[in-house]
Symmetry: C2
Subunit: 203 residues, 2 copies
């Protein structure tokens, strides 16, 4: 069986839930303890302070937030396949963690210096993406574009549907949750179509 659930993991799971929902300032140690089904003092036994616990969650969340590009870059698949894989992967991650973007950006905004230090060595290398796109421009696969702008365009189009869920669902879809969900599933092909239409070189 070994259903010997370990307390540290219980705490981390509950803490991630609460912090992502409420943010650091809105989160309560008591609520984290309750959701983990343990005593509040145990939080301080495993993690010394609220800040410590938060840092663990934030570091983890931020690494999840950064696009995982290493795996895609190394393959020798054609560029547009890489692009589609990138969009698929990122949207899947967001579907599983819809609160992630707002959480990361709100917290990093609250105290940039401190949090930037926590994530300094997150092993994200934008230079690789940059040079890949430049190569494709040179090869004539795609129109000349600034790589950074292209990346920001794509990320922006992926993030907003999730970050703006209450706004979109409430204003555009008249509180119809199904319509919103359908919209999310359409997103994959829509973003791909939109991007490829924009950058693919016409003959």
């Amino acid at each position: 069986m070994e259903q010997d659930i370990n307390s540290e993991k219980l705490i981390l799971n509950a803490a991630k839930e609460v912090f992502l929902e409420k943010g650091f300032d809105g989160a309560r140690m008591q609520e984290i303890a309750d959701r983990a089904g343990i005593n509040k003092a145990l939080l301080h036994y495993y993690f010394r302070s609220k800040d410590n616990l938060f840092d663990a969650i934030f570091k983890d969340a931020f690494e999840q937030f950064l696009p995982r590009i290493a795996g895609i870059m190394t393959t020798d698949k054609p560029f547009f396949e890489k692009l589609e894989f990138f969009i698929d992967t990122y949207l899947n991650m967001l579907s599983e963690n819809p609160h992630l973007p707002v959480f990361v950006m709100h917290e990093i905004n609250r105290s940039p210096e401190v949090l930037i230090n926590i994530i300094r060595d997150s092993g994200f290398n934008p230079e690789a993406l940059r040079s890949m796109i430049k190569k494709e421009v040179k090869a004539g696969t795609i129109n000349p574009v600034d790589p950074v702008h292209l990346i920001v365009n794509i990320i922006g189009m992926c993030l907003f549907p999730y970050m703006g869920k209450p706004i979109l669902q409430g204003f555009i879809f008249k509180n119809n949750a199904e319509d919103y969900q359908k919209f999310l599933t359409e997103r994959k092909k829509e973003i791909k179509k939109f991007v490829i239409n924009s950058i693919r070189k016409k003959v």
Copy 2:
């Protein structure tokens, strides 16, 4: 002269600053009072509670956050001009209120029901945008696109550069504030180019 600064306005200005920076949970009534240069009790004299004060700020912020489309729609300018004007206007607003998007989305996320009620009648009509885009598709000006996806694409590309400032400045631009600023100014033409490239009908 009439520099008879009225206290209510002083409070509202300070409150907007603090709430946008720290969010509801992170904001302190004392700090708002300090920034307004008045006594804390005066906050409760003009606005009964922290919630009341926040609601006033949030309602205002949300209306600012929604794209102002009424003025654009009524003109008889060609579609692409309207589009460019829309992007210019929205990016200008964001330059003046860079904290707005994260603030609105974090707070609306914290308690959707309550805040949705506050902004119920904000006079934003997505249907007008929708039908305008449909008309252009029918007229053959642009490729067939789902209007909602197009709008979400554009808004997403506008928002992310501002919401992700610390991330972009820290990771992409190696903490070079000038490079980030230059990037922001480039955004206008880059978004326009990207969108128009994607949807303009080729002959």
